[in-house]
């Protein structure tokens, strides 16, 4: 088991964030309930005259280009994640470890050049 006391600031941040956000959500609701008239009616939730429906399924089909952006993001995210242990252990792993990471980076740079040349980074 690890020493959890070093995570106390994160817990404090979390408590403050949850408290503030729930205050922002529930305080206006409570104030409105106490000060204004509260008469819910189904007609109030329907669209007004020729307006569009207020409540419908949020799912609409995405363009596949978003997926490409997400894939590219994951790959370079992982690349950055691999850099952290490499950076802190560079003294022990020596030049061989340094060269390993350079080969890894070269592999992904090849992919980046390919993506760039194919125009996959352009949105149009």
């Amino acid at each position: 088991m690890v020493d959890l006391t070093q995570y106390l600031p994160i817990l404090i941040f979390l408590v403050i964030a949850v408290g503030l956000s729930s205050a922002f959500v529930f305080l206006p609701m409570g104030v409105a309930r106490l000060t204004g008239a509260h008469k819910p009616e189904p007609a109030k939730l329907t669209e007004y005259e020729c307006g569009f429906p207020a409540f419908e399924d949020a799912r609409s089909q995405f363009d596949v280009r978003f997926y490409l952006v997400a894939i590219l993001f994951i790959i370079f995210d992982l690349e950055a994640a691999f850099l952290f242990p490499w950076a802190v252990s560079l003294e022990e792993i020596g030049w061989a470890g340094w060269a390993t990471m350079m080969i890894f980076l070269a592999e992904l740079t090849l992919g980046l050049v390919y993506a760039w040349k194919k125009g996959a980074l352009d949105w149009e």
Binding site: F62, A70, L72, I74, F84, P85, T100, M101, L108
Partner: protein, 203 residues
């Protein structure tokens, strides 16, 4: 004491949200439950002392993989009623998979309690006076170079595959060509004419 409470809190939420991933009717809600499960799994990793893995879970799984899942769910055009139909038809196959997984669990627990082989300790000697990110670095970039580079190749193949599958040129779009704009000189764009009197303009 706090660690025990935290462990049971994280473990309960992981199992509950994993169950909700399966039982949620809306696939988008399933992905949201999955994100909650990832967060709590990261908490469990923290309790186990694997801080780097915990942060990796949050950065890579929550930040990237869950977003990818969400995109995939949003891109699919699923008919939910049709998806839920045929429960009875797929029940035998599903039950078979469940039984196999349960048997594997039993075998794994049996092998763990039998002990003896200790492969993990031979492959990754535990040094306790260093942080685990440093231990990962010392092993990954020396002993497991080949696997590391293979992971790089896998990422490269994934990137090229995604580009080949999803990227296509769309016609009829006018993009800005900055170098062409900068190359343009006044003499390309303007013309001086000297019309005679009463002859009018000819363009």
């Amino acid at each position: 004491m706090i660690q025990l409470i935290a462990f049971y809190l994280f473990a309960t939420i992981v199992i509950a949200s994993a169950a909700m991933v399966i039982f949620a009717r809306n696939p988008v809600h399933s992905v949201m439950w999955l994100i909650l499960a990832f967060f709590n799994a990261a908490g469990l990793m923290l309790l186990a002392g694997a801080e780097f893995i915990a942060m990796l879970l949050v950065i890579v799984y929550v930040g990237a993989v869950a977003v990818l899942f969400l995109f995939v769910v949003m891109m699919l055009d699923i008919d939910f009623a049709e998806l839920r139909a045929g429960f009875v038809r797929y029940l035998p196959l599903g039950a078979l998979v469940a039984i196999i997984l349960a048997a594997e669990l039993v075998f794994a627990v049996g092998a763990w309690s039998a002990g003896g082989v200790d492969l993990a300790a031979r492959a990754a000697p535990v040094v306790t006076d260093k942080s685990n990110i440093q231990q990962i670095g010392e092993l990954l970039y020396t002993k497991y170079i080949f696997l590391f580079e293979a992971a790089g190749i896998v990422l490269l193949v994934a990137m090229i595959g995604a580009i080949v599958l999803t990227h296509r040129q769309r016609g009829g779009v006018r993009t800005q060509n900055i170098s062409a704009q900068n190359r343009r000189r006044p003499e390309d764009a303007t013309r001086l004419v000297d019309p005679g009197v009463g002859q009018g303009m000819e363009l």
